[in-house]
């Protein structure tokens, strides 16, 4: 007896069922007693009778043991036998095996990879942070629109929220750090002092922040650095704690090193350092933000107490927000605070990626279905070839249950191989989402944890059942009467299993069609977005210089900006250059202000007259290529001593001046009246998809900003202009560095990268699905033809020409396709709406997309049916009929 039977048996005998044991004892006792009775009746004395009975039985304990083994061995023994048999079957058909495992690997791998993305980016985005299911994001609202929150507001929420275990602030920021020779801009977080305690992450060296370190303006220049930064910048210096480091312009003391694998709490970026909120001014500039309820800059998270739902927390926090609104009307009117699930956090990449990942889950499941149908069909066709084997096995006494178990074991072997391959695929692809954001240095790790593994195992089991049960349907139809007869010849489409196989093909066609429609719609949408003009030239370079953190105050910054722009304009090949506070289509936020216009009555319903504006320097419109319709650009004369002026866009004129010429009219900005001196064409501000919106510009000098972006219009290549600019910057101040320089075209591309991910992946899977469906159709048609040689021969003998046969087979294949397409169209009409806001200027029922998908599907299936059909025309009628 082999060890793999023995070990489980021995184990099981440890937990032997007492009842069964007792039964066995009684049964044998009855037998012995009967034998003894008989022996006595034959004239033996009782003792002799007993001995004879025991002898006949051959030892009670031995028989008992054999009975136990007879009971228990079957299951394990059969499983091992099935496993061996399955392996042998798979080895005997290497082509089939490889194809099936490849399909399953792709399907399970795609699902596991998507799961890992969802887990690592949306559900458990922050490695090492404890109990992430109880974390929610907290953001302010102003009249329903999202805004940041202020520090004093958050302190009030923290004090009065009973359902919150902890509230912590975590804002993204950047700093220029130079260690030795290298100066570099790195990303970090401004956090509240309770940050590390609240997330349950403890520095490996030194300490986190102490209570009170987030109070007092610039009072606590302390720093926790990431493990990565410690290793790369400080060479793992064991004496690091207590050392000082210039971060931006402020000398900070390093008090802790975060554990390895902790990347902070921002989806899309790795954090390299953490500073307490007391240092916010050094990083953000613009005065003390800790006491000012009107300064909104905080992005926060809340850890809910166990068992508290998001809705309950929202109710309590809304109540607190309305109390604050009543208490501080000057700063808080119309403002609320909203709780967001972590997977929809509005202030990092989570909310941008959510719709894309949702689509990915659906697409991956579709592909899984298609692959199951396909592999099921392959197995089914193969099981028909194995009918003989099955029938013989049934005849020699295998129960149908045994055959079923064997088929399931084979399915399990296939799907286990597929799952193993799939996990490898998922492992390789877990960080692959970043590849879709070229240029943007994003950190989007997938995570393969126990939940992802569990889900993948569940998928694998479901596949086993689906794939294994399909041929099991087949054995139901096996009639023993046909035991050793040859394959009965078929008439096209006349059998029960043909119906089943056909519906599997129809399912594949339907799902592939859905994916094709989705891919086409998304592709149309992306090309619409890409084709829509942003309203400014995209051949403009853009970067900025970290002046705030280099300690520049306003007068110094003004001098620096003026000198730099003069130098840049003097460089060869420069057409124009200008500053602006905000780059269009970037993640930066525009300033907004309630405005007033002479003669314009605000609507009575209290609708907001808040409008967005940008602070720009002279020559901005010439640099950006935004056409000036009337009036003038800003000039160097529009400085802080001159009367305040503004330039408005067309939509603004249409709304506030009813299309009248606005030049010379007045506009109230932040409580001051300014004169409109120019009118420019509309352009895009936050996204290419946005509708035209009122917008205006004010001179940078009159609304000064220390660290605007510099925009340069030139025909020079990026490398040249970048090094030229850096040279000029260093000539003015050798301690300065540049942020990343990109073209506005790149900015446009980045702003549409989520759509690009969706299009690429859906198109990829759509193509894969098309291929699989074609293979499925081809397989079924080939089989049907090979089974119908007799019918085909008969038809030929009766005078049907090759054209008739071609038509017969093709029409049968296309009937399947047509059925699939009809179901597919019906489903697509229902489902494409779910693409929702990923579609731009494209109707979810766009006839072109449906038409294109229809055409591609029809062509592919015609191609798939053609070879079998052609083979049908080559049927030799004599051979076909004689074969009977």
């Amino acid at each position: 007896m082999r060890w793999y039977y023995k070990v489980p048996l021995r184990l099981r005998s440890l937990f032997r069922n007492d009842k069964a044991e007792q039964d066995l004892g009684e049964e044998l006792q009855f037998h012995l007693q009967s034998q003894i009775d008989e022996n006595v009746a034959r004239g033996m004395n009782p003792q002799e009778a007993r001995r004879a009975a025991l002898h006949a039985l051959g030892g009670v304990e031995q028989v008992k043991e054999e009975c136990r083994e007879a009971r228990e061995m079957n299951l394990i023994e059969n499983f091992v036998r099935d496993l061996r048999l399955g392996l042998r079957m798979l080895r005997r058909n290497p082509g089939f095996t490889v194809l099936a495992i490849l399909c399953l690997t792709l399907a399970i791998g795609a699902n596991a990879a998507v799961f890992s993305w969802v887990e690592g980016i949306l559900l458990r985005p922050y490695p090492l942070v404890s109990n992430q299911e109880r974390l929610v994001a907290l953001a302010g609202t102003v009249r329903g629109e999202r805004d940041e929150t202020s520090w004093p507001d958050l302190l009030d929420v923290q004090r009065s929220c009973n359902l919150c275990q902890a509230l912590f602030v975590s804002n993204i920021t950047g700093a220029t750090v130079s260690v030795g020779e290298r100066a570099q801009v790195i990303t970090g977080s401004i956090v509240s002092a309770n940050y590390f305690d609240a997330i349950g992450v403890h520095p490996v060296f030194g300490r986190g922040f102490e209570p009170g370190e987030d109070t007092g303006r610039n009072a606590h220049p302390v720093l926790v650095i990431s493990y990565h930064l410690w290793q790369t910048r400080f060479n793992g210096d064991p004496e690091i704690i207590g050392k000082t480091q210039r971060f931006d312009n402020v000398v900070h003391t390093i008090v802790g090193v975060a554990p390895e694998g902790f990347y902070g709490t921002f989806v899309g970026r790795e954090m390299e350092y953490w500073v307490p909120a007391s240092m916010v001014e050094a990083f953000y500039g613009g005065g003390d933000k800790l006491e000012d309820r009107g300064a909104r800059w905080c992005e926060a998270y809340v850890r809910l107490k166990p068992g508290v739902t998001r809705n309950q927390a929202q109710q309590e926090i809304s109540a607190i927000a309305s109390r604050l609104e009543a208490e501080y009307p000057a700063t808080n009117r119309g403002r609320g605070i909203k709780v967001w699930p972590l997977w929809n956090t509005p202030f990092n990449h989570a909310s941008h990626l959510l719709p894309t990942l949702e689509i990915m889950v659906v697409v991956a499941v579709f592909v899984l279905f298609i692959v199951c149908a396909n592999v099921g069909n392959l197995l089914l066709v193969r099981s028909l070839a194995r009918r003989h084997e099955m029938t013989v096995r049934l005849a020699v006494g295998a129960s149908r249950g045994r055959l079923l178990r064997q088929l399931l074991t084979e399915g399990l072997l296939l799907s286990a191989c597929g799952a193993a391959g799939g996990m490898l695929v998922a492992y390789w692809c877990r960080h692959a989402l970043v590849l879709f954001f070229p240029g943007d240095v994003l950190y989007l790790p997938g995570q393969i944890d126990s939940r992802v593994l569990g889900l993948s195992a569940a998928v694998c089991l479901a596949v086993t059942l689906a794939v294994g049960l399909v041929p099991a349907f087949q054995t139901r139809h096996l009639a023993l009467a046909e035991t050793l007869k040859t394959e009965a010849s078929a008439v096209m489409g006349a059998r029960g299993q043909a119906w089943f196989r056909s519906s599997l093909v129809v399912l594949q066609v339907t799902l592939s069609f859905l994916l094709l429609v989705g891919a086409t719609l998304l592709m149309q949408s992306l090309s619409q977005i890409r084709a829509s003009s942003p309203g400014f030239s995209t051949q403009v370079f853009d970067t900025s210089i970290p002046l705030v953190t280099a300690g520049y105050d306003a007068p110094r910054a003004k001098m620096f900006q003026d000198e730099l722009i003069q130098r840049v304009r003097a460089l060869p090949g420069i057409e124009a250059a200008a500053y602006a506070r905000v780059v269009p289509l970037s993640y930066q936020s525009y300033s907004s202000t309630p405005i007033a216009v002479d003669g314009y009555e605000p609507p009575a319903n209290g609708e907001s007259t808040d409008e967005l504006y940008n602070e720009v320097s002279p020559d901005y419109f010439a640099t950006m290529g935004i056409p000036l319709i009337s009036g003038r650009e800003f000039t160097p004369a529009d400085d802080e001593n001159a009367p305040r002026v503004a330039i408005v866009n067309q939509t603004m004129v249409a709304r506030y001046w009813l299309g009248q010429n606005p030049i010379g009219q007045r506009l109230q900005v932040k409580g001051n009246w300014v004169q409109v001196v120019g009118l420019v064409k509309d352009s895009k501000y936050y996204s290419l998809e946005e509708p035209p919106r009122p917008f205006f510009y004010v001179p940078l000098r009159q609304y000064f900003e220390i660290e605007p972006d510099i925009h340069i219009r030139t025909t020079q290549p990026l490398q040249t202009i970048q090094s030229a600019l850096l040279r000029e910057v260093r000539a003015l101040d050798p301690n300065l560095a540049l942020y990343e320089m990109i073209t506005l075209q790149e900015q446009v591309n980045r702003s549409t990268s989520e759509q690009l991910v969706a299009v690429t992946l859906v198109a990829l899977f759509g193509g894969l699905a098309l291929l699989l469906a074609s293979i499925g159709l081809y397989g079924v048609m080939s089989y049907t033809v090979s089974q119908s040689t007799r019918e085909l021969g008969l038809r030929m003998a009766l005078g049907a020409g090759p054209a008739n046969l071609l038509r017969l087979v093709l029409s049968r294949g296309l009937l399947l396709t047509a059925t699939g397409l009809i179901v597919g169209i019906a489903l697509a009409l229902l489902l494409t709406r779910l693409l929702g806001n990923l579609l731009f200027h494209v109707s979810p029922r766009d006839p072109l997309a449906f038409g294109a998908a229809f055409l591609v599907m029809t062509l592919a299936s015609t191609a798939a049916c053609f070879l079998p059909a052609w083979r049908a025309t080559r049927t030799d009628p004599m051979r076909a009929l004689r074969a009977e």
Binding site: F30, H31, S34, L57, A70, R71, N74, A395, S399
Partner: protein, 109 residues
């Protein structure tokens, strides 16, 4: 483990099933019946009988139930299941073909 050869095991299974096709019976009764019907030619090895019964039960061909024996003792009665009956028919057909084939060969030579 002293495992009987396949032929013997298969034959014993067939005999048990055939016997149970008449009426539910306990192990002792099965042994007696086979001996009587075969006119004392076939002596069932009692040590092999019970493991065989348990194996057949495990395979779902027979079912066991406790009941009263003729002399009012508690005994385990086995009866044939539908699956078992089907299996028996196949086995019988197989056996007939096999034995007649062997018979043919033996007569010819």
């Amino acid at each position: 483990m002293a495992k009987p050869t396949d032929l013997v095991q298969g034959t014993l299974d067939l005999l048990i099933l055939r016997t149970l096709a008449l009426q539910p019976m306990h192990g002792w009764g099965i042994a007696q019946r086979i001996r009587q019907v075969s006119k004392e030619v076939l002596q069932v090895n009692q040590g092999a009988l019970y493991p065989a019964l348990h194996r057949l039960e495990q395979q779902g061909w027979i079912r066991a139930k406790w009941g009263e024996s003729d002399n009012n003792r508690r005994a385990k009665f086995y009866s044939l299941t539908a699956d078992g009956a089907k299996y028996l028919r196949q086995e019988q057909a197989q056996w007939k073909r096999l034995s007649s084939a062997i018979g043919l060969v033996l007569e010819r030579s």
